[in-house]
């Protein structure tokens, strides 16, 4: 069952960067988003994510928290320091038992934090809402 996502409606697809060191998670998120009509870029750790985001300027980033080299949060902080990437909204996936501080999240443009195990369906809904919110803004 293929779906067309919001990404396709204005001609150019919405580009989403997925950063996760777990291959299967990266794969499943990639697939769910592509099926929803988004263009998906991937990275396997914080450093690679930072590099891809800087080069590709995606419309949204979905990142894991716990990753080698740079955590998801550190990657977002670095993106904030660069005016070219500072406005990219982020959705964070985390297997951590604790909630991150809301103020911290907002300060680095993290719109939402989803706990692992997560529902791909719910993730796509969040992405749609985020991209929608971004278009409105």
């Amino acid at each position: 069952m293929r779906k067309t996502g919001q990404g396709a409606k204005d001609g150019a697809k919405t580009r989403i960067l997925v950063v996760d060191d777990e291959t299967y998670i990266q794969h499943v998120v990639h697939l769910k988003l592509s099926n929803a009509g988004y263009e998906v870029l991937t990275a396997s750790d914080g450093e690679e994510g930072l590099q891809t985001a800087t080069e590709e300027h995606p419309d949204l980033i979905i990142t894991d928290y716990q990753m080698p080299f740079l955590t998801g949060l550190e990657m977002c902080q670095r993106l904030q320091q660069n005016p070219a990437t500072a406005s990219i909204p982020v959705i964070m996936l985390t297997a951590r038992g604790f909630a991150l501080d809301d103020a911290d999240l907002r300060s680095v443009n993290i719109l939402k934090c989803l706990g692992k195990p997560f529902s791909p369906r719910e993730l796509v809904a969040c992405v749609a809402a985020a991209v929608g919110a971004k278009s409105v803004a």
Binding site: E22, I25, V29, A95, R96, K116, P117, F118
Partner: protein, 479 residues
């Protein structure tokens, strides 16, 4: 009481003699003079003389000899008082009175002796008790300090002396502030002494700066109140809780890391099942791929849970080994064969170095095989394509132990990571990218070798050149 005796021949009038004797005895006995008794000495029909006995208080009790002498005198008086004699009628009641006094004295003496014996027994018991209590006090691992109302140290056990590094004998009766360098504890004791007009207990915690790490102590202060004193003596007990604190910290870390580790494969399983339910797999091939991922991740989850349970069972002493005296060489070879496909995937050559002799040891076969498998699997994981892994069992320690070494030409481990390498959930940062792992494999190796087999694990490594992991188990358990 003192006894004075005098014997006199009767030379003139009896009365005169009696008066003289009285005066004489009074002089002998001094101001404590109590009573005098006279008895006639009969010679045929006439009185030949007089026996005089006086009892007076001159301090101290009668000695046995004096009592028996007194008894003899009184008996003589009784003889003199017999019906055949003529003169002694009026003396009889006095003589009896004396006898009663003597008996009373003897009884008093007996009871005094038994009291002395009882007191001696009590004293001995009290001494034993003191020694026993002092033994108990010194055997305590907790440090105990007792200070008086002037904040002077009146008692300290060995644990206290060693905790605060003072000389126990030399520190007694010194102000506590001079004995303990830790101001915090000194002021706690001072507060307890002042507050101690009613018996009270106080519990608090403090930290002592010690090498290599600070000590956490639980401090209990009890005031032994004396109603008449405003300040009281204080008993201070210091219990070392450093280890409890560490264990609790490690437990929290374990729970946090374990839940994180377990959530990861669970996320994949849940996500792929939802994808299947939502019809996101476009064909049978994709569905099959999803099923395989779910199976793979479920197995990974199962392995993690098994490893965690095995580690905690070993730590809790709940695992029972099946002991066999077997040759470790074929077990090591089996492990090598098992992992050859994994090595082949990365084009890694895996060599088994067969020793010249068999290597028998008392081991749990399955556990030892898991140890060797974990070590080889790690070596393959962290060795780049085209590398080498060598597995070598041998006898060591004058043939009293078996050693198995696993050498690789891999990444090597930075020196700062070596001490933490066998800890639960520890992973070398730089290696996280190279291979997946839970950080449990090496900890399980350590637990099996050291806790179950009373052996030893070790590692030598050089970054960029490779590592050598080894373990040693004794050939005979309990030898």
């Amino acid at each position: 009481m003192r006894l004075a005796l005098t014997i006199s021949l009767c030379a003139g009038a009896v009365a005169l003699l009696a008066t003289l004797l009285s005066a004489l005895m009074a002089a002998v006995l001094g101001p404590g003079f109590a009573s005098i008794q006279l008895a006639p000495l009969l010679l045929g029909a006439g009185i030949a003389g007089l026996i005089g006995a006086g009892i007076g208080w001159a301090g101290g009790w009668y000695a046995d000899k004096q009592l028996s002498r007194l008894r003899a005198v009184v008996s003589a008086v009784e003889v003199a008082e017999a019906p055949t004699t003529r003169l002694v009628g009026p003396l009889a009641p006095i003589a009896r009175l004396h006898l009663d006094v003597i008996e009373q004295l003897e009884q008093d003496r007996r009871s005094a002796r038994s009291q002395v014996r009882q007191i001696e027994i009590r004293k001995h018991l009290a001494q034993t008790e003191v020694e026993h209590l002092s033994g108990v006090l010194h055997s305590l691992r907790d440090a105990v300090l007792v200070t008086n109302e002037f904040n002077e140290l009146v008692m300290a056990n060995e644990a206290a002396a060693s905790l605060f590094k003072f000389d126990r004998e030399g520190a007694l009766n010194k102000p506590i502030g001079q004995v303990l360098p830790e101001k915090e504890i000194v002021s706690l004791i001072g507060e307890a002494a002042v507050a101690g007009n009613t018996s009270s207990r106080k519990h608090t915690e403090c930290t002592l700066a010690r090498e290599p790490e600070p000590l956490s102590l639980e401090v209990s202060l009890s005031s032994l109140a004396d109603a008449t004193h405003e300040a009281a003596s204080v008993v201070t007990i210091l219990h070392d809780i450093t280890q409890e604190r560490q264990v609790s910290r490690m437990k929290n870390e374990f729970v946090s890391k374990a839940s994180h580790e377990l959530r990861t494969p669970l996320s994949s399983i849940k996500a792929y099942i939802e994808m299947l339910l939502d019809g996101e797999a476009e064909d049978e091939k994709a569905r099959r791929e999803f099923y395989e991922i779910i199976q793979h991740e479920a197995e990974r989850l199962g392995r993690m849970i098994d490893n965690m349970l095995n580690i905690s069972r070993i730590e809790a002493g709940m695992i029972s080994a099946t002991w066999e005296n077997i040759d470790i060489v074929p077990i090591a070879q089996e492990a090598v064969e098992l992992l050859k496909p994994q090595a082949a995937e990365k084009n890694i050559s895996i060599t088994f170095q067969r020793p010249h002799q068999s290597c028998h040891a008392d081991v749990d076969k399955d556990m030892i095989k898991q140890v060797i498998t974990n070590l080889i699997s790690n070596a393959i994981k962290y060795t780049p394509e085209g590398g080498r892994v060598t597995v070598a069992p041998d006898l060591t320690d004058c043939d009293r132990s078996v050693i198995v070494s696993v050498n690789d030409s891999g990444l090597g481990i930075p020196p700062e990571s070596l001490p933490k390498l066998f800890s639960k959930f520890y992973r070398v940062d730089k290696h996280e990218r190279v291979a997946k792992g839970t950080g449990l494999g090496l900890n399980l190796v350590k637990q099996i070798v050291e806790a179950v087999h009373h052996g030893e694990v070790g590692v030598e490594s050089e970054v960029g050149k490779g590592s050598r992991f080894w373990f040693i188990v004794p050939c005979k358990q309990g030898a």
